[in-house]
Symmetry: C2
Subunit: 279 residues, 2 copies
């Protein structure tokens, strides 16, 4: 496995890669969710590249950029075992050269949900993903459905900018107790983690009600909220049921594919989870 | 010469192109300035592609998008004679698919000069150039120095987004009387065109004074302004002397490469010209 820490090293290696090339962009501190992306890429691509870059521009001034969990040695072992052929680990200076001034926005999708709560977050995400895609030039790139709005933003950006890259969304991976895998789960105290199981429990309850025929958007959101409100350690940021394509919040009866998503705080830690409901 | 009107047709042809590929993006209604870009590309690239696309997103609501001059048949003849191997002529729908929401900004360079006068213009330029570069995937792309701020914005964007493309800036081409070639020159009445010669005359006068040792920024701008103010048909939008890299306006003594640029209106027609002064 090649470890490329500069663009020059990446490009040298990329020139000789057997295609197609699949890219799994990550912020490191890998878990089973990331590995599932690597496995999906391995199944479809001759060469699988991963990147590890904790991107400063997608963190707000009061967010956890400085203390975002990092463990490069462990990450490298996991990626090598999973059969990754190259890991790109650039410095901030390599990704944001002096005088860097270019930013990418996908405004129609980012005024709601996480985008409303974290101003500038998705400009940072779209910009760094474009940089990584341009640097690596993969045929396909793999992202988790857990960050559903991020996936929607990246899909739209890649389509709009006419990038010849297939964006592949992969299912949420959960621990045995149902908690969606996240690098930030490490922040949770045991009693918070226990309370956090209400997220997947609420989503599952709504999914069952939907399968049984319930279509009213507010009633579906209420099922989720009720489960979470039963946990005193949980503070709901939002529970949303939105059009899966436009991310516009739904009222009345659900007619097409809908994203049921939530963000819930446990102390300073905000966890995401979601499920897609298809009538 | 292949004429590709869809992305699919472009990509089919691009797959078989002999490299390196040079791209000359244009808005059509070609003149000697455009042809000089084609010649520069021919000298360096195995295959030369051109694009013709009048980009709606870089025109303001009161600008001349609808009546921007167009003559596709003549453009195609000129490009074929010049040895271009493919012309990409997409529709607006091909470049901006339904739901298009992605925009690229290079704010540090676009709050001044043309950017200050035309809000949103350079977001439109950066976005469409990124789309064209992603669609064509050239090794090099050629732009005229006449649109100096545009060239600076594109250079910065390509660098910041880590695009593996060389941006080549080419010298301004002038008619025999000194007027910089522009598709918009066709709008000029004969007496306006006569008055417009004051632009290059003013720039040349300042260039001579600079060569003779004059370094004071305001004195250099005044030389240009004086020439243009002598023409009653000319209305100065601005005369600027700015750092060639940051585009920050200069005061006092010029120490490094500086862009002496201007925009002057003749009725509704605004003409650009510039020269770079290197101490």
């Amino acid at each position: 496995m090649i470890v490329a820490r500069t663009l020059a090293a990446l490009r040298d290696a990329r020139r000789d890669a057997r295609g197609p090339v699949g890219l799994v962009p990550t912020m490191g501190y890998l878990h089973q969710g990331h590995l599932s992306l690597v496995h999906a890429a391995k199944a479809e691509c001759e060469s699988v590249y991963a990147s590890i870059f904790v991107n400063p521009t997608q963190f707000g001034p009061h967010e956890d950029f400085a203390k975002y969990p990092r463990d490069e040695a462990r990450d490298l072992e996991m990626l090598e075992s999973a059969g990754v052929s190259l890991v790109f680990i650039p410095s901030v200076e390599e990704m944001y050269p002096a005088g860097d001034a270019t930013r990418i926005s996908v405004d129609a999708l980012t005024g709601v949900l996480e985008g409303a709560r974290r101003p500038g977050h998705f400009v940072g995400v779209a910009t760094v993903v474009a940089k990584l895609l341009n640097a690596v030039q993969p045929d396909r790139s793999y992202f988790g459905q857990k960050d559903a709005q991020q996936l929607a933003v990246i899909r739209r950006m890649v389509r709009d900018l006419l990038l010849p890259i297939e964006v592949v969304g992969c299912p949420i991976i959960r621990d045995d107790d149902g908690l969606a895998c996240s690098s930030r789960n490490v922040y949770l105290a045991p009693e918070q983690r226990q309370a956090a199981l209400s997220l997947s429990r609420g989503l599952r309850a709504a999914e069952h009600a939907f399968a049984a025929g319930l279509r009213d958007a507010e009633a579906l959101r209420t099922i989720v909220r009720t489960q979470i409100l039963a946990e005193p350690l949980a503070a709901i940021d939002y529970v949303s049921l939105a059009d899966a394509d436009s991310l516009a919040e739904l009222e009345g009866s659900v007619q097409g594919p809908a994203l049921l998503s939530l963000v819930v705080g446990f102390g300073p830690t905000h966890l995401l989870d979601n499920v897609t409901l298809v009538p």
